[in-house]
Amino acid sequence: MKMIKNSAGRLVPSEVNGQKQIPFKGVGKYKPKGKKAAPPIRSCIDYPADGNKVVKNLQEALKRAGLKDGMTISTHHHLRNGDALTNMLFDTIKSMGVKNIRWFPSASFPVHQHLIKYLEDGTIHHIEGSMNGPLGRFTSEGKMKGTGVLRSHGGRWQAIQDGEVHIDIAVIAAPTADPFGNATGDRGPTACGLLGFALADSIYADNVIVATDNLVPFPCIPWQIQGNNVDYVVEVDSLGDPTKIVSGTTQVTKSPDRLLIAEYIAQFFEDAGIMKEGFSFQAGAGGINLAFAVYLRERMKKKGIKARFIRGGSTKYLVEMLEEGLTDFILDGQTFDLEGVRSMRENPNHVNTSPFTSYNYHGKGNFASMVDAAVLGATEVDINFNGNVVTHSDGYLLHGIGGWQNALFAKTTILAIPSFRDRIPVIVDEVTTLVGPGELIDVIVTERGIAINPRRKDLIEATKKSSLPIRPIKEIYEEVNKICGGKPAKPKVKKDKVVAIIKWVDGTVIDSVYQVDK
C-alpha cells in the first residue's frame, strides 16, 4: 500500500479496497467536476399498478433485488441502539449464502456487535460508515477483511452523489409505511422522528426496500421517504426496541464539572455577542450540550432574546424553547427523545431536515454554514485546535464522525470538552487521528478555562472584558499534563497496517487509523 502525505501532514493510502483515493488538499480546496451519479432508469409499468409493493419477507425482497456477492448494502441509524432490522437483514443475507458485502450504514451502534461474526466469516467484507464500540475495537485490532471508511453524514451524501459509493440495495427501516413505500419515522410503535439519513439512499440506490412494523393503507401521510423511489415493501414483526430508539426523557448531566462547562458556553454566547435577536445555534444531545441549552435559555429569557432557528438533535429541552417562543423553528436532523418525536409530529415549526439540506458538500449551499454557533464534543483536541472524534488516545477506533465535520462549518464552532477524563488528557500536543482541521475550530471550552483560536481575533476582542477564564490553549494543555503526571505516551500502532481511513467532507482522505499493537 502506497502512503502519501496529505496537506495536513498526515500519511494516507493512495488506494483503499481497490478504490483510488485522493489525499486531503485543504479545506475547500477540492472540487470534483462532471455529472453526479444517477440510479438506473426505471419504468412504472414494471411496478404493480395498484401500488401494492408488499412482498412476503426480507429474503424475498433481497432475492428480487438481485442480491449477490460483493454488493453494497446500506442501512441507517435512526433506530439507534434499538435497531433490530440490520441484524435481521444480515442474518438473512448469511442464510442466503451471500458473501463479501460492503456494508454502508449511516452509523453503527453497540447493538450491531451481532455482526462481528459476519465480518469474521466473510459475509461482510468491510464497513463504510462508522465503526462504533465493539465494531471499532474489532476493526482496530486488524480483524476486518477490508479497510474501514469513515464518513460524516454529509460526506455520505457526497460519496453517493459523486459515485464514490454505488448502493446496490438500500434497506430502510420505516416506523410507519404504506404498501406503495411512502414512509415516515414520526409515528408508529418504533417511532424515531425522522428518516433523513435514508433519503439519499432512497433516491440513488439501484434497489430500495422499505421494512416496516406499522403498515398503514395508502397514503402514509406525511411521507418522509417517497414511495415512488421504493421497489419493495416488507412487513416485519418489530423493527426494534423502542426504549433504545429514543429515550423516554433525556437528562441533563449531573456532573458539576460538566455543568460548569455548559455554564461557561452559555456565558460565552452572551459575552461574545453570539446571543442576539434572530440568532441560531446547533446543539446535540450530549450531557454538556443539553445543559448548555438549559443555561442559554435562562439567559435568553432574562435578556428577552429570541432565536430564529435551532438545529437539533432535538430533545425536550429544545422543544420547550420552541413552545415558549424562544425560537421560531427547530430544524431537526435527529430526534433524541419522545418529546422531540411528538413535537415533530404535531408542530409544523419543528421541521425534519436531512444531510442534504444541512451537510452535503455537493449541495448548492448548506444549512450548517448558516448557523451562528455550533456546540460539539470531541475525544481529543490538540494545541493547534485540531479535533478528533473517532479514536481515543489509546489508538482505538470507537466512534463515528456523525455530523461533526459538517457542523464545523458554523460561523463559530465551540468544542465542549473536559480537559481530561480520569487520567486521560483530552487536550494533547497532537491528535491521535485528525478528523477536523484546527482552522475550523474556534473555541475550546473546558472546566479549566476557555481557549479561543488565535485566528478568531474578533472573538478574542469581543470577550476581552468577559469574566470567563479565557486562556491560551497551551497553558491548559500544560496544566493538564501536570495533573496527569506528564505527557501521555502515544499508542503503539502498526504504521504499515491501515485499518480505516477518515474522509473529509469533500471525499478526500484526511487521516488513517492504524492497527493497534497489543
Binding site: 480520569d422 479549566r448 469574566s467 506528564g486 505516551a489
Partner: protein, 399 residues
C-alpha cells in the same frame, strides 16, 4: 508483618473512576512481580510501573506479588493506595513516600479571610479532588471524619496527605476535618506538615478539646519546621458544646471560626431537624453570639438537599440574618448560590463605601480616630466594610 502475608487496598468495580485497587503479597524470594491492569496502560502504564518499583525500593521490599487494577488514578492517588497496602502489610514501617509538593500549593491563608462557602470532599474519594477548586469555594474540606468508613480511615489519611501536597485547589482555603478526639489527634501528622490552613475539630465540647489539638499541632509544627499559621475551626454539634460555645471560641488565639453541625445536635437534644429550624434557633444564636464575642467568624451547618437550590438560598439568607458568615456545601453546585445569598445588598455596599472612604480620609490626615458623621468607627467595623466591598466585587465578577 501482617500475619496473612496478604493485604488489599483501594477500590475496584465497574463504577470506580480515578482510583485503583492494590493486592500485595509478601514473598520470600522471586523479586517483585507486578501485574498491572490499567485503563491508561497505553498512556501511563510504564510510568505507573516505574512508580511502584521505586516505592518498593524505597520501602525496602525485595520480594512481593503485586496486582493493581487502575481506573485512571492520578499519580498521587496511586502512591497513596500502594503505600496503604505496604503499611497494611508491614505496620512497623513508619517512613512516608511523599509525592512532590506542588508549588502552586504554597499559598497562605488569613485568620479573617472570607469563609462563605466550604466544600466538603470525602477524604477517601480522590475523583472529586482535582476539580473541586474550579467551582471557586472559599474553602475545601478534605474530610477524614463522617464521610470515611471506619475501616478506611488509614486509607483516607494517606490520600488526604498526598492530595494536600499534589492537588491544586486553585486558591481555596485548605481545610481538613479530623476525626473526633482522641482519634483525630492521630490524623494531625498526615496534614500539619503539608500546608493545611484550617483544622476542623468535630464534636467539640470544651476548651480542652481545642487545646489538646493545638498542643499536638505545635509539637508537629516544631518537628517538621512548619512556619505557616494553622487555624482551627471547632465544630459544635452537641448540647454541651452549645453551652460551652464561648469557652471553646476563646480557647485558642488560632481559632478563626466557630461552626455548628446540626445533624448531631438535633439528635443530641432529642428532636428532628426541620426546614424552619425552630429547634436549633437557640443553638445557632448562642453560637453566633459566642463567636462574635470572641471576635471570630460564625459558620452555619450544611444544607443537605442538593437539588433544592431555592431552599438553600432561603437557608443562607436566614443564616446571614442570624449573623452567620459562612455555610457548608456538600455539592459544588451549592457554592454559587451560597455566594449570591451572602452577597451584600445595595444598601450595605453604600454604607461600606462610606466607611472605607472615611477611614482612608482619616489616615491621609493622620487622624488616629475615624468617624463617620457623629459615629466613631472601630477598626473591626472598617474591616467588615472592606469585606462587604470585597464580597460585592466578587459578586460582580461572578456574574
Amino acid at each position: 508483618m501482617n500475619k496473612n502475608n496478604f493485604v488489599i487496598a483501594g477500590k475496584k468495580g465497574d463504577k470506580i473512576r480515578s482510583d485503583c485497587y492494590v493486592e500485595l503479597k509478601s514473598k520470600k524470594s522471586g523479586g517483585i512481580k507486578l501485574d498491572l491492569k490499567s485503563k491508561v496502560e497505553v498512556m501511563y502504564g510504564d510510568d505507573i510501573r516505574k512508580t511502584i518499583f521505586a516505592m518498593c525500593d524505597y520501602f525496602g521490599i525485595k520480594h512481593a506479588g503485586i496486582y493493581i487494577e487502575d481506573y485512571g488514578a492520578l499519580p498521587s492517588t496511586i502512591m497513596a493506595r500502594f503505600e496503604l497496602a505496604v503499611k497494611r502489610l508491614f505496620p512497623e514501617i513508619e517512613k512516608e513516600s511523599l509525592p512532590e509538593f506542588n508549588p502552586a500549593n504554597n499559598y497562605k491563608t488569613k485568620k479573617d479571610r472570607l469563609r462563605r462557602s466550604r466544600l466538603y470532599l470525602p477524604g477517601n474519594e480522590p475523583k472529586f479532588f482535582p476539580n473541586a477548586g474550579l467551582h471557586k469555594p472559599d474553602g475545601i474540606i478534605l474530610d477524614l471524619e463522617d464521610s470515611v468508613s471506619p475501616m478506611e480511615k488509614d486509607a483516607a489519611q494517606l490520600l488526604v496527605r498526598n492530595s494536600l501536597r499534589a492537588i491544586d485547589f486553585y486558591g481555596a482555603e485548605r481545610m481538613v476535618r479530623i476525626n473526633q478526639l482522641p482519634r483525630g489527634l492521630d490524623d494531625l501528622k498526615y496534614v500539619v506538615p503539608h500546608n493545611v490552613h484550617v483544622i476542623l475539630i468535630p464534636k467539640c465540647e470544651s476548651a480542652g478539646d481545642v487545646k489538646i489539638v493545638e498542643e499536638k499541632v505545635n509539637e508537629l509544627k516544631k518537628k517538621h519546621s512548619v512556619k505557616n499559621k494553622i487555624y482551627f475551626m471547632p465544630i459544635i454539634e452537641s448540647a454541651l458544646g452549645v453551652i460551652k460555645a464561648y469557652e471553646i471560641a476563646t480557647a485558642s488565639e488560632n481559632n478563626c471560626a466557630l461552626a455548628i453541625g446540626l445533624e448531631d445536635y438535633t439528635a443530641d437534644i432529642g428532636t428532628q431537624r426541620t426546614n424552619e429550624g425552630k429547634e436549633s434557633f437557640f443553638a445557632r444564636s448562642m453560637l453566633v453570639n459566642a463567636a462574635k464575642a470572641a471576635r471570630i467568624q460564625a459558620i452555619d451547618t450544611v444544607f443537605s438537599d442538593v437539588t433544592d437550590m431555592e431552599g438553600l438560598r432561603q437557608s443562607v439568607l436566614e443564616a446571614k440574618a442570624l449573623g452567620f458568615e459562612g455555610k457548608g456545601c456538600i455539592h459544588p453546585r451549592q457554592i454559587k448560590v451560597v455566594h449570591e445569598a451572602f452577597a451584600p445588598t445595595e444598601e450595605e455596599i453604600d454604607k461600606a463605601k462610606k466607611i472605607v472612604e472615611a477611614f482612608k480620609e482619616a489616615k491621609k490626615k493622620g487622624l488616629g480616630v475615624v468617624s463617620l458623621g457623629s459615629k466613631m468607627i472601630d477598626p473591626p467595623v472598617v474591616k467588615r466594610a472592606e469585606n462587604v466591598l470585597k464580597m460585592a466585587n466578587l459578586k460582580e465578577k461572578e456574574n
